[in-house]
Symmetry: C2
Subunit: 316 residues, 2 copies
């Protein structure tokens, strides 16, 4: 598993770490990630068939318009998986074309498992010889941040990155993410801290990041009353919504901020959510950009505007 051929080793040594590549791309092109979410509604809005040919046209249009223009593109694996191997084949093309054009590809796959299975996911998405090799991938820590170690090791070996889910915007997430450990920290904070510890030896800038939703109010310490919610037929008390301030200041790694644009997040939310951890913020927009397509000019214009607005909002 750890045997690497010398030629591979040289390639690895030559590839800068993801943290450095990501930082350079954000500084150069502005803090923006463009989500590639080929769901039926977006395909229909462009007048496309809701089949694999529609998916391919939608994605390739976005890639050809924006790869090389924006820092990061983020395909959402689920929308490809629904077409089986044909969908995966299109995802391979999307990833390859976007990377060739010089944009970092962050695959939103939210994988998480243990042992040899986690190792297989690492191989699938971070090993350069895989047909689906990307620059970085999202991972889910329900089995503990430690269970993701094979992914972290592969990232380290291949100059790639991993973004670990920490705090999401959806209210149902609180039941897990804001539960408390014995030491008083929330699950989300302990995840942020563990990822920060893994980045510690790479300060000022590691390659392991976290995912924090744009509308979570993560760094507010203002108390919000605990609400009782009726969700999907289950009445439950949401843990400690809004009570906990989450501290991202010792992360020393990139922060993906999804939920921007049509999902409700605004540039002005970024500092509120991220506090002082604004250096490596990656605000991610999907429909807000796609709805301006398929016109290449309009796609480029909206991406430029959003990158500028986010850059302005994140200025120290």
């Amino acid at each position: 598993m750890f045997h690497v051929r010398v030629d591979r080793m040289e390639a690895v040594m030559a590839e800068p770490a993801f943290g450095a590549r990501c930082s350079a791309a954000l500084a150069d092109r502005g803090p923006l990630c463009v989500g590639i979410d080929p769901h039926d509604e977006s395909l229909r809005a462009w007048g496309l068939n809701t089949d694999i040919s529609g998916v391919e046209y939608f994605c390739m249009t976005l890639v050809d318009a924006l790869a090389g223009q924006v820092a990061v593109m983020k395909p959402q694996s689920a929308f490809f998986e629904r077409f089986g191997s044909a969908g995966t084949a299109v995802l391979e093309k999307v990833v390859t074309r976007a990377r060739s054009a010089g944009t970092l590809v962050l695959l939103d796959a939210k994988r998480g498992d243990i042992g040899s299975t986690m190792q297989a996911y690492a191989q699938a998405y971070l090993d350069p010889i895989s047909p689906l090799a990307v620059d970085a991938v999202t991972a889910t820590p329900f089995l503990g941040v430690g269970s993701l170690r094979p992914m972290f090791e592969a990232a380290d070996a291949h100059g790639a990155g991993v973004f670990v889910l920490a705090l999401t915007s959806n209210p149902e997430g609180n039941a897990v993410q804001r539960a408390r450990r014995k030491d008083g920290r929330t699950v989300a904070q302990s995840i942020i801290d563990e990822v920060g510890n893994l980045n510690a030896s790479r300060r000022p800038l590691g390659s392991l990041g976290v995912v924090v939703g744009a509308t979570v109010g993560a760094c507010r310490s203002q108390a919000v009353p605990v609400e009782r919610q009726k969700t999907y037929g289950i009445t439950h008390t949401t843990g400690s919504v809004g009570e906990a301030a989450h501290d991202l200041s010792r992360l020393a790694g990139p922060i993906l901020v999804p939920g921007m644009g049509t999902q409700g997040g605004k540039p002005a939310d970024l500092k509120r959510v991220l506090g002082e951890a604004t250096d490596l913020a990656i605000p991610s927009y999907s429909r807000e950009i796609a709805r301006h397509g398929p016109s290449v000019d309009r796609l480029r214009a909206v991406a430029r505007t959003l990158a500028e607005q986010c850059g302005e909002a994140l200025r120290p």
Copy 2:
């Protein structure tokens, strides 16, 4: 999302719910799930190349030997994903052949997301028209059990099942799964309870299940000292290891128990872990079975033996 064509509706009415199909299969063939985990070590043990042709031979041998003989087969998606679209194409064949032979296929994919993305995962794995449609899929509730709703609705519509991760055997999982909500319950217990509530209207038997590792000691109430562990360079106190008894008695749905065999779980662990919730236990073995291949006779013999041993251990 809730519009279902009449012809589809009729097809749905004709297909019994997963809970009923699963119960019948377990009663008929014994409580056993055979994991299909084509990792390199297992391929080498059979003298196969560690490439996609080796994966296909390995999986098809297991399917041809055991589908129709055992209640459930569980391919692990990660081992196919590492070969990109070629791997997904083999997974499609494995799923189709195993289902045709009359074995229930539970895809271990551990997907979890929100909104339209979760809907796309539901479509990918539970919609009968998908090339990867299976009988049931595993799901990860880091974004809350409620976030999985599109998957539950698809299961309901198509007579399929969903197994939600609750309590895993790996020690790193405790930091999340045994954290406490405001109401004092662990995250794991709240997941079990939410799934149980969703099954409530389908008593005695719902189609939504949970995943509980064979070596967690879930139903012991015996106190185990909190340990300090050094994991991957991070020293942390594991939440409340072993302190919490987890109650599966109101689940009214199937329980997947991975980690049997070479991973350490024994038939005698089942009652300890599951308490009285033994009706719908699905102990899952992978390497313990595969290591007897590629001989079809030996594969069938070991599967028969393990199904008998588990059936014996689970007898009330």
